[in-house]
């Protein structure tokens, strides 16, 4: 039986725009803060994993040159929006395998103001002659001609598919989710935006891809988060002040998307999320009703709604009623995205999956300040990267 894994340090930079820093600075800031939080140093780490979607070239080794080169193995991981969680899980697997007893996981991203709409199509110098190419034998770009593959529309379609299959879900339910997350973010000093918006303002904001308006879409941004993990046997040897604040990783799961009929034209964000949640509940013995808070992947308001159902936070088919009844509000039945979520806390892609582990761990330690969910003992994190990769973690406050 593999050893349990615990979190003893966690940190994140405020998400936002850092034109004067590079991604190595951001990652180093988060890493040094997480190790200080753990009352540990780089010489205590036996393994390191670093996640970034855009900085692909040995980012981990670049960070080591700023925080300490000790010769330990470092894994550079990339898994779309599940990248940060993949870094955390890489360290967890190394500890569970018995190859390390303490490790550092970092997720970091610098996106700048890069738009996500894709290329406008380059002006060609040479003659344009239609010639089939690629696996679909295409002769010209098909975006906007054969539907959309750009994120706001893809996730709008994911939400509208749920609306087609279940009553009580429409534009207003999706907008209420954004209203909630913007409101939550007003209590989070680490959020990229901390501004409250009315439902009217959200519904009347510029439409991106119906039903997602601009205020229902996550922004681009920069930031980093880091987590220090230990084996349970190592934890027992550490200072009582470290043990007291330790948070148990009760489940750590990663899934990819299994084949479904529609998967070749529209990413299926549901099946792999359901698989991951079910495995996490089974691993931990936790029941959905035990959860005191959830940080889930609300890249768009339409995404958050379907995950209420996928993560079993509501009755089957009842995601619309769940938001209408205030269930995911910070004072509701199961508070969801009390950080402000990706919609308002921000979504520096590689950082996100580590940052929501920071968020839940901070609540379980009772250290979340104004946004603290009182008495939180059990929490869940969820991220999904299109392609697709899904990671779910269940964390618990327990004595060791």
């Amino acid at each position: 039986m593999a050893d349990n894994v615990w979190i003893i340090g966690a940190a994140m930079t405020k998400f936002g725009r850092y034109p004067d820093k590079d991604v190595v600075d951001l990652a180093s800031d988060a890493a040094l803060d997480a190790m200080a939080d753990a009352d540990a140093g780089i010489h205590d780490m036996n393994v390191m994993a670093v996640g970034s979607q855009f900085e692909m070239f040995t980012l981990g080794q670049q960070i080591q040159k700023q925080i300490g080169q000790t010769g330990i193995p470092v894994y550079n991981v990339s898994n779309a929006c599940a990248t940060g969680a993949s870094a955390v899980r890489t360290v967890i697997m190394a500890i569970k395998a018995g190859e390390a007893d303490m490790g550092l996981a970092i997720g970091a991203e610098q996106m700048g103001k890069a738009g996500l709409l894709g290329n406008a199509g380059k002006q060609r110098d040479k003659k344009n002659v239609f010639e089939p190419s690629g696996r679909y034998g295409g002769v010209m770009p098909v975006e906007g001609v054969l539907g959309t593959g750009i994120m706001p529309g893809v996730f709008a379609q994911a939400g509208m598919e749920y609306a087609a299959e279940h009553d009580g879900v429409g534009f207003e339910q999706f907008a209420k989710i954004a209203e909630k997350n913007h409101m939550h973010s007003s209590l989070n000093p680490l959020a990229q935006y901390q501004k409250v918006f009315s439902l009217d303002e959200i519904m009347n904001a510029p439409m991106q891809a119906y039903p997602n308006t601009l205020l229902m879409c996550c922004p681009t941004g920069d930031g980093a988060a880091a987590v220090v993990l230990v084996s349970e046997s190592k934890l027992k040897t550490l200072d009582p002040d470290v043990r007291k604040r330790a948070v148990k990783v009760s489940a750590s799961v990663m899934t990819s998307d299994p084949w479904v009929e529609s998967g070749q034209v529209q990413p299926d964000v549901n099946t792999l999320t359901r698989m991951a949640a079910d495995q996490a509940y089974e691993q931990s013995g936790v029941d959905p009703q035990d959860l005191d808070l959830v940080e889930l992947h609300d890249c768009f308001a339409t995404a958050e709604l379907v995950h209420y159902d996928n993560l079993r936070l509501c009755e089957p088919g009842g995601a619309g009623a769940f938001i209408d009844s205030g269930g995911p509000m910070r004072d509701g039945k199961i508070p969801v995205n009390v950080s402000g979520g990706l919609i308002s806390k921000g979504h520096p892609i590689g950082a996100t999956g580590a940052a929501n582990i920071y968020e839940v761990a901070t609540h379980l330690r009772g250290e979340a300040g104004d946004r603290q969910v009182e008495g939180a003992k059990v929490g869940m994190t969820h991220v999904i990267g299109l392609g697709s990769a899904c990671s779910v973690h269940i964390l618990e406050k327990q004595a060791v």
Partner: protein, 135 residues
Amino acid sequence: MGQQVPIVDYLVLDDGAPHLVAHQCESCGALYFDRRNACAKCGKTSFGTKALSDHGTVRSYTIVHRAAPNIAVPYVSAIVGLDGGGVVKTNIVNVDPDPDHVQLNMPVRMTTFVAGMDDDGTEAVAFGFEPEESA
């Protein structure tokens, strides 16, 4: 007067009425618009072809208002389940692009239109789906 070519190779223009065709796994029947090295559902490697229906229903849609500058907005993107099997991503055409006119679960049928022209005057023909009620 130039010729016409399909925008993608799963649109067939030169064999009767325009229609979509898919690679079909000979073992499990799974359908793919692109060529596959092996079947993502069952792992087998033999494929045939299957002509798909030009009628279906809207399983989901979005109305895209913001896109790269060379794409005309707003337009309706949809996921259409085809009668008799297969699911396709498409624009919904010949409909006002607003939620009052595009309906979930609405029956639609395939149509074609010219989507572009190259420097030799060859036209790229695309497919779209339109509401059954229109025209």
